[in-house]
């Protein structure tokens, strides 16, 4: 086993109990330690099932037929209990409201390590560390109910981080957030990746943020992997994303349009700043009536 591989799915198929079709059909993918991998797909593409497979909720709690092999750091998911896997796999769900269940933010973040039998002193340190990391330091005694959607999701991330997981799995965490909540959330994910080298598996419907942060992107359709690879490759064809029901990143659309208009295949950017530079340096001066 390669210790650099955090998560490995080989020829995985899963069918929910009593369901006709396969929710996941012949899925193979790998997440390396420290990688940020995004799984993009329309509703019903199999994203949630895939996420729950990683911490064992599928098939242990959500029953059905599982074929193929799912390994988290070399351990077979099918053989471990969810509670055991949860110390290695941190999980964040869509709904901010129903995944927080404690009276205070502090209890929420302490809940996981308490269940794992971590000594009180260490839990205290972990709680402070996790809250700091998601920008919620000082909110210890607040009720999760009183927080904004973005704050709730950040507390949910902290509650997963305090278990010191090896991989963080997020199932459409921005699902119910307003634009500011979204920005707050992705800022935290970016820091986790850049400053802490966290291994992340993210499921999303919208490719906008995934295009900025991912090392590897998996496109899904009807339970199958439609394409996967580095963002540059996968996002190069916005039309393809649209055909899969995925909203493409606007900068990829602009880049793709400019490529075909100017017949220069090497125009490529995902960030607004890069787009600005490329257009000012390469596109605008090239014409006859360049701006003064």
């Amino acid at each position: 086993m390669d210790p650099g591989i955090a998560l490995s799915l080989r020829d995985v198929r899963f069918r929910h109990r009593n369901a006709k079709g396969w929710a996941l059909d012949d899925v193979s993918l790998q997440v390396r330690r420290g990688q940020f991998v995004s799984v993009l797909g329309a509703n019903g593409a199999g994203k949630s099932t895939l996420c729950m497979l990683v911490n064992g909720l599928v098939p242990h709690t959500v029953p059905g037929d599982l074929e193929g092999v799912v390994e988290v750091f070399g351990a077979d998911v099918a053989e471990d209990s969810v509670a055991k896997l949860s110390s290695r796999v941190g999980m964040v769900f869509q709904e901010p409201e129903s995944q927080l269940f404690c009276m205070t933010v502090e209890e929420e973040v302490a809940f996981g390590p308490e269940n794992l039998g971590v000594p009180a002193d260490e839990i205290k340190g972990r709680v402070e560390w996790a809250l700091e990391l998601v920008g919620m330091a000082g909110y210890n005694d607040r009720s999760p109910f009183s927080l904004s959607g973005g704050q709730k999701q950040r507390v949910a991330i902290a509650a997963a981080l305090s278990m010191r997981p090896d991989i963080l799995v997020l199932d459409e965490p921005a699902y119910a957030l307003d634009p500011i909540g979204r920005v707050e959330l992705y800022k935290v994910l970016r820091e986790l990746k850049e400053k802490h080298g966290m291994t992340v598996l993210l499921a999303e419907r919208d490719a906008e943020e995934a295009s900025l942060y991912s090392d590897h992107i998996v496109l899904m359709e009807n339970g199958k992997v439609a394409a996967q690879g580095p963002p540059k490759e996968v996002l190069a064809d916005p039309e393809r994303l649209v055909s899969l029901g995925i909203s493409p990143p606007q900068m990829s659309e602009v880049a793709s349009l400019l490529r075909s208009r100017l017949r220069s295949p090497d125009i490529d950017f995902t960030r607004v700043e890069d787009a600005e530079r490329t257009i000012i340096e390469r596109v605008l001066p090239a014409g006859r009536g360049a701006a003064r």
Partner: protein
């Protein structure tokens, strides 16, 4: 651009709000002096971050909340003295969470619930329900229990159940939450069709891509006030206002703003438009 204050005939205004203030029982001031007119047949997006007051405003139009001060006129009559059921003849409100509404054992019964409450005649009830189901593309699931449907279908059932009451004004509260691109585009197309058939549409949202694509008039709210009222291009060219109201303009708008110093006009709403403008600034379309 549509002027905010309208000088045309008064009966042209289906909704007229004057200096509306609303304070919740707990003491939170959600609206602090909103004045707004909406004309028959308009398509207005009300945007703003959470807590900006947009839902409180909509609930005041529906009569679910009563003004602390100021007036809300619907079709020329003050909402204040009316029963919600009589306002429901004119204003329909599709709530964000369809699960807060659906309770019948079939989609058909669900859609019939509203018009039945309003006492509409029984002889054209079937036609009414069928029309509503067709407009939301739901005929194929009419006999199914609403709970067994997907989120996108449940949302459409809840909208159909409002359409069946045949109100002139339709308020949609974050209708695309949780929907994927295809589902939200289909829904937005249905809403556009309702508007073209003469319905006045009020769309409450914080999805700025949606606003750029569909709205004809945008009302930006922040801290209980209307801070901007203009067409989408006008709103998006005012980046400061958007950021102040906790809204994130779409990337293409941010890029256009950065390129505006290089002779590219700012008023773009889509990647296609931006590229067109860039090509023009290049001089390719002289």
């Amino acid at each position: 651009m549509i002027p905010a204050a309208d000088s045309r005939a008064a009966d042209d205004k289906i909704i007229s709000i004057h200096d509306l203030k609303f304070i919740y029982p707990g003491g939170v001031q959600a609206l602090s002096g909103v004045s707004l007119d909406i004309r028959r047949g308009e398509y207005v997006a009300i945007v703003g971050g959470n807590g900006s007051g947009k839902t409180t405003l909509a609930k005041n139009i529906m009569g679910l909340l009563r003004p602390t001060s100021g007036t809300v006129l619907v079709n020329g009559t003050a909402v204040a003295g009316q029963r919600i059921a009589s306002i429901a003849h004119i204003v329909g409100y599709a709530f964000q969470n369809p699960d807060h509404q659906l309770f019948c054992s079939t989609v058909w019964e669900e859609v019939r619930f509203g018009p039945q409450n309003l006492g509409y005649p029984a002889d054209d009830m079937d036609a009414r329900v069928e029309h509503a189901l067709r407009s939301m593309d739901l005929m194929s699931v009419k006999a199914r229990p609403p709970f067994s449907l997907t989120l996108s279908e449940r949302r459409r059932v809840s909208i159909a159940s409002v359409i069946a009451m045949d109100p002139e004004v339709l308020i949609f509260d974050e209708p695309t939450t949780g929907l994927d691109m295809r589902e939200s585009e289909a829904l937005m197309a249905s809403i556009a069709r309702l508007n073209s058939e003469g319905k006045t549409v009020i769309l409450i949202t914080h999805d700025m891509k949606l606003v750029a694509k569909h709205a004809k008039r945008v009302v930006v709210m922040s801290e209980g006030k209307v801070i901007l009222d203009s067409d989408p291009a006008g709103v998006f060219s005012d980046l400061e206002v958007l950021l102040a109201s906790k809204l994130m303009p779409p990337p293409v708008v941010r890029l256009a703003y950065r390129l505006s110093t290089r002779g590219v006009p700012r008023d773009v709403l889509s990647p296609e438009e931006l590229v067109l403008r860039i090509m023009m600034a290049r001089g390719d379309f002289r």
